[in-house]
C-alpha cells in the first residue's frame, strides 16, 4: 500500500520534471545541438559528401593555421600565467586584511563578467594608443618625437587580457585563501617549517584547486579571445576564433571554419572541465575551514606600502580605461576641448555608412535584443532549475547538457547557425537570430546563478501556501518568485549585460539594419572615429555600470560561473 503510494508520487514528480525540461530541450536541440552536429558534419564531410579528414589534415600542415594554433595556445597560456601572478597578491590582501573600501574592491572583481570586451579595447586604445592619454602626456613632458606603442603587439594583447581577467583570480583564490584555517599553518610551523616552507608545502597545495580553477577559466577566456585580438592585436595576429571568422568572411570556407571550431571546442571544453573538476580536488568537509582573523592593514609599514602600491595599481588598471572613455566622450578628439558634439553625432546620419542606421537606432537595437534575451533566458533558466531541483538519476548529465554552451564560442555558434539555417533565410536573416544566440550564450550563467538559490529554498514554504488554499500556480507567483527574487533579478541583469556586450556572434550574424552597440563601436574604432566611439562607449559603459551595481547589490557571495 505504502510502496504503491510512493511509486505513484515518484512518477508524478518525474513527469513534472520532464514537462519542465520540454521547452528548454527543444530550444537547445534546435539552436545548439543540431547546429553543433551540422558543424561536425561539415568538418568531416567533403563537398561531395564523402567522409574525410582533409580539413583537419590541412589545419595541422598549413603554415597559416599552424601559426594560428600556436599563437592561440601561446597567448592564452602566457595571459593566464601573468593573470595568475598579478592576481595572487590581490587574493592575499583581500583574504588577510581588513581595510576601508575593501568591499568595493571585492565588488570590482565582478567587472570582467559584465564589461563588454570591445569596451575594454576602446578603453585601452584611448589610454595607451598612439594618440592616447598616456602618450599625449609623455610626449608633452618628455618631448618625444614618436609615441610609445604599447598596443598593436603581442605585449599589448597580454596586457589587456591580464587586465580583463585578473579580478577572476583575485575572486577565486581569495575566497579559498580566506577559508583556510590558520591551524594548518600552525601545525606546519610547530613541526619546524619556515615561512617559505609553510607557503610552498601547505598554502600552495591547499590553494591548488583554486589556482587550477582560475588558471583554466582565464585560459578559456583568452583562448576564445576575439575582439581584443582584432582591435589590440591588429591584422598580424589571429586566434582560432579570429581565423574561423576569416575563413568564413574572406573565403566563404565553411569546412575549414567548422574543423577549426571543432578543434577549438574540444580544447575549451577540456579546460572548462578542468575548471569544474578542480573543485573536487580536495574533498569537501576534509578541509578545515575557518575564517582567519583579519589583520588591520595599517599595522605593518612594509605590508601597508606594498599593499597600497598594489591597490593603487589595480584601481588604475581597472578604473582608468573605463574613466577615460567617459572623459573622451566629452572631448573633441582633435582639440581636446569640452564638447557635446560626440553625443550629437549619435543622432546624425553622418555615420550611416558605417552603422547602416542612425547610431541612436543602434542603441535601440541593443536594448531590444537584450530585453528579449532576458525574457528568453529567464524563462528557460526557471524551467531548467525547477526541473533540476532535488535529487534524481541523470541530474548531473542533464546539468552538463544545459551548461555545455558555456564552452562553445560565439563565433562557433554563429557559424553553426549559418550552416544550419542556410535553407531558412527567413530565420537566418531575421533579427530574431541575434537574441536567440544571446539567449544561448547567457543561459549557462542564468542557470548557474539561479540553481543554488532554488536548490536551497525550502519546498515547505510552497506547501504552506498550498495548505492555506493557494493554487500551485498562484503559489509559484506569490511565494516562489518572492523567495528567489534577488537571484532572479541578478541573473536577469546578467543576461542583459551579456547581450548588451556580446560581440562575436552578433558581428558574424548581423545585417546592417540591426547593428548592435558593440558592433558599431568596433566599426568606429576600426575607422578611427574616436569621438563617436567614446560617446557610444560611454553609454554602453553606463549600462554595464548599472548592471555591475545591481549585481553587486544582489549577489554578494559565491562564484559567478
Amino acid at each position: 500500500m505504502k510502496s504503491a503510494l510512493q511509486r505513484k508520487s515518484f512518477k508524478g514528480v518525474e513527469l513534472n520534471r520532464i514537462l519542465k525540461f520540454c521547452l528548454p530541450i527543444i530550444f537547445l536541440t534546435i539552436f545548439f545541438y543540431l547546429p553543433l552536429f551540422n558543424i561536425t558534419k561539415s568538418a568531416f564531410f567533403s563537398e561531395s559528401n564523402k567522409f574525410t579528414f582533409d580539413n583537419f589534415y590541412t589545419i595541422f600542415t598549413k603554415p597559416y593555421t599552424l601559426k594560428v594554433l600556436s599563437f592561440t595556445f601561446k597567448q592564452a597560456f602566457i595571459s593566464a600565467l601573468f593573470t595568475l601572478i598579478i592576481g595572487f597578491p590581490g587574493a592575499y590582501i583581500i583574504s588577510h586584511y581588513d581595510f576601508r573600501g575593501k568591499g568595493f574592491l571585492i565588488s570590482l572583481t565582478t567587472v570582467p563578467f559584465v564589461l563588454p570586451s570591445v569596451l575594454v579595447a576602446l578603453g585601452f586604445i584611448t589610454l595607451f594608443g598612439t594618440n592616447g592619454f598616456v602618450n599625449q602626456i609623455l610626449m608633452g613632458v618628455f618631448h618625444l618625437s614618436h609615441p610609445i606603442s604599447l598596443l598593436y603587439s603581442f605585449t599589448g594583447i597580454i596586457l589587456v587580457h591580464v587586465f580583463y581577467n585578473f579580478p577572476i583570480v583575485v575572486r577565486i583564490i581569495g575566497a579559498d585563501w580566506e577559508g583556510i584555517s590558520e591551524e594548518y599553518k600552525f601545525a606546519a610551523e610547530s613541526m619546524g617549517a619556515s615561512r617559505l616552507a609553510v607557503f610552498i608545502k601547505v598554502i600552495v597545495p591547499l590553494l591548488l584547486p583554486a589556482i587550477i580553477a582560475s588558471f583554466s577559466l582565464v585560459f578559456v577566456f583568452c583562448f576564445l579571445s576575439f575582439v581584443i585580438i582584432l582591435t589590440i592585436g591588429g591584422a598580424r595576429f589571429a586566434t582560432i576564433e579570429v581565423s574561423i571568422y576569416t575563413y568564413y568572411n574572406m573565403f566563404s570556407d565553411f569546412k575549414m571554419g567548422s574543423a577549426l571550431a571543432l578543434f577549438q571546442g574540444i580544447f575549451s571544453l577540456l579546460f572548462m572541465y578542468i575548471y569544474l573538476w578542480s573543485g573536487n580536488l580536495i574533498k569537501k568537509g576534509t578541509l578545515k575551514r575557518g575564517i582567519a582573523k583579519k589583520r588591520n592593514i595599517v599595522k605593518n609599514k612594509t605590508t601597508l606600502s606594498l599593499s597600497l602600491t598594489y591597490l593603487i595599481f589595480v584601481a588604475v588598471l581597472i578604473i582608468a580605461p573605463i574613466a577615460v572613455i567617459f572623459i573622451s566622450a566629452f572631448r573633441n578628439p582633435l582639440t581636446g576641448a569640452f564638447t557635446l558634439s560626440n553625443f550629437a553625432g549619435l543622432m546624425s546620419s553622418k555615420y550611416n555608412y558605417i552603422t547602416g542606421v542612425l547610431p541612436i537606432h543602434v542603441i535601440g537595437n541593443s536594448l531590444v535584443f537584450a530585453g528579449i534575451t532576458v525574457i528568453f533566458s529567464i524563462i528557460f533558466a526557471l524551467l531548467i532549475t525547477y526541473g533540476l531541483r532535488g535529487k534524481f538519476i541523470g541530474k548531473n548529465i542533464l546539468l552538463t547538457l544545459f551548461m555545455l554552451p558555456l564552452a562553445i564560442s560565439p563565433i562557433t555558434i554563429a557559424l553553426s547557425y549559418i550552416i544550419s539555417f542556410q535553407g531558412h533565410p527567413a530565420l537566418l536573416n531575421s533579427w530574431v537570430i541575434i537574441p536567440i544566440a544571446h539567449t544561448l550564450i547567457a543561459l549557462p550563467f542564468t542557470v548557474r546563478a539561479l540553481l543554488p538559490m532554488i536548490e536551497t529554498t525550502s519546498v515547505s514554504y510552497v506547501f504552506v501556501a498550498e495548505s492555506l488554499g493557494m493554487s500551485r500556480l498562484r503559489a509559484f507567483f506569490s511565494v516562489d518568485l518572492n523567495l528567489i527574487r534577488p537571484a532572479l533579478i541578478a541573473s536577469a541583469v546578467f543576461s542583459f549585460a551579456i547581450s548588451m556586450g556580446e560581440f562575436g556572434a552578433a558581428y558574424m550574424l548581423c545585417k546592417p539594419s540591426y547593428t548592435t552597440m558593440p558592433i558599431a563601436l568596433f566599426r568606429f574604432l576600426s575607422g578611427r572615429h574616436f569621438g563617436i566611439a567614446s560617446a557610444m562607449g560611454a553609454l554602453l559603459a553606463l549600462a554595464s555600470l548599472v548592471a555591475f551595481i545591481l549585481i553587486d547589490k544582489l549577489k554578494k557571495e559565491g562564484p559567478i560561473i
Binding site: 584555517s181 590558520e182 591551524e183 594548518y184 600552525f186 601545525a187 606546519a188 610551523e189 610547530s190 613541526m191 619546524g192 617549517a193 619556515s194 616552507a197 608545502k201 601547505v202 597545495p205 591547499l206 591548488l208 580536488l281 580536495i282 574533498k283 568537509g285 576534509t286 578541509l287 578545515k288
Partner: protein
C-alpha cells in the same frame, strides 16, 4: 622531555588582558581548564609561538625561548579538528615534520613505521584523512606531533568535536599514551570531566587570569574561589542565618530521620542516576541520588535529608 616555565606572561587585546604564571614539570600532564573566552587557547598559542606575548618569559629547562620562532621551539601540537593536511596521505602527514628537518628518506620511513606501529595505525598509512575515522584521526595527529620527538606536546581541545562515546574511549587512549611515553603535555579544554580524568594538575583560568592551580582532587574538594566551586562540578549555594554554605549535590544524603526537610520540585532521570530540585525555605537545592533510593518519589512530595561536610 623538558620542563616549561611561564613567567609573568602578559598579553592585551581589546577588552581582554591575559596574565599568567605557571610551570609544567617534565613528563607532567597539565590541563588548562576554563570557559570560552578565558584565554586558555591564547596561553597555548603563546607557548607554541603562534602569538607573541607582550611581556614575560618562557623558559624551557631554564633556557629562554620567549622570542624563538615556532619552527625552532621543538613542540608538537594537536588541534581541535586535528588539521591533518587533506592533500597528503596519513604516511606523508606523519612524515611532514621529518621531511622539513631534512632527515634521510630511510630514517623517515623507519620513524614513521615505528610510530605508526606504536599507535596502531599501520593499516591506514596509505589512506587520506577524509576517509579515516575520528579516533584514527586523533591517533594520526598525535603520531604526527610525536614523531619529531618534541619537548612538549600541546593539545588544543582535541576531543571537543567528537561525540560522547568515542570521546570516552579516546580519553582512555590518551591517558594510556601519556603513561607509556611520559610526555610533557599541556592540554587545553573547557570540559571539566576531561581535565579531571586526564590531568595531573589543572590550571583553572577565568577571564585571562589563573584562578587556581591544583590537582583534580584538591580542586574538587577544596576549591579556593567561588568561580572554582561553580565551574568544577555542580554545587549548591545555601543561605541560612546570613551565612553562606556550599554543598555538592552528592553531599545531600536522603534519610527518613534527616535533619532537614524540603519539597521535591522536579525530578530528572539521567544516565548517572537521578537529580532532583528540592525547595527548602529560601533555598532550592540540587540532590543527586541513585535511582533505587528515589523510587516512588514524585514532585510535590516532602523528603528529609542530612547535609554532609560543606565549607
Amino acid at each position: 622531555m623538558k620542563k616549561i616555565d611561564l613567567i609573568g606572561i602578559k598579553k592585551k587585546y581589546e577588552g581582554f588582558s591575559l596574565n599568567v604564571d605557571f610551570d609544567v614539570a617534565s613528563g607532567e600532564f597539565i590541563s588548562i581548564l576554563g570557559p570560552s573566552g578565558s584565554g586558555k587557547t591564547t596561553v597555548l598559542h603563546i607557548i607554541a609561538g603562534f602569538i607573541r606575548q607582550d611581556q614575560g618569559k618562557i623558559l624551557r629547562d631554564g633556557n629562554d625561548i620567549s622570542f624563538l620562532p615556532t619552527s625552532d621551539r621543538n613542540i608538537g601540537v594537536v588541534f581541535q579538528d586535528y588539521a591533518l593536511f587533506p592533500y597528503l596521505s596519513v604516511y606523508s602527514n606523519i612524515a611532514f615534520g621529518l621531511k622539513i628537518k631534512h632527515f634521510e628518506s630511510k630514517r623517515i620511513k623507519e620513524a614513521v613505521f615505528n610510530i605508526a606501529e606504536q599507535f596502531g595505525i599501520t593499516h591506514i598509512l596509505n589512506k587520506y584523512p577524509d576517509i579515516i575515522s575520528g579516533g584514527e584521526k586523533q591517533r594520526v595527529a598525535v603520531a604526527r606531533a610525536m614523531v619529531v620527538k618534541p619537548d612538549v606536546l600541546l593539545m588544543d581541545e582535541p576531543l571537543s568535536s567528537l561525540d560522547a562515546k568515542i570521546r570516552e574511549r579516546l580519553m582512555e587512549e590518551l591517558k594510556e599514551f601519556h603513561q607509556r611515553f611520559n610526555t610533557t603535555i599541556v592540554y587545553v579544554t573547557h570540559d571539566q570531566a576531561e581535565a579531571m580524568y586526564l590531568a595531573e594538575r589543572i590550571v583553572l583560568m577565568d577571564n585571562g587570569k589563573i584562578d587556581q592551580i591544583d590537582t583534580p582532587v584538591n580542586l574538587y574538594e577544596h576549591p579556593k574561589t567561588l568561580f572554582a566551586r561553580e565551574f568544577i562540578g555542580k554545587i549548591n549555594r545555601l543561605v541560612a542565618n546570613g551565612e553562606i554554605k556550599y554543598i555538592r549535590p552528592e553531599e545531600v544524603i536522603m534519610s527518613r530521620s534527616g535533619e532537614f526537610e524540603g519539597t521535591v520540585e522536579r525530578i530528572m532521570y539521567l544516565d548517572s542516576g537521578v537529580e532532583m530540585y528540592v525547595k527548602m525555605q529560601d533555598n532550592r537545592i540540587l540532590v543527586r541520588e541513585f535511582l533505587r533510593n528515589v523510587k516512588g518519589i514524585k514532585p510535590g512530595d516532602v523528603i528529609r535529608f542530612d547535609l554532609e561536610g560543606g565549607d
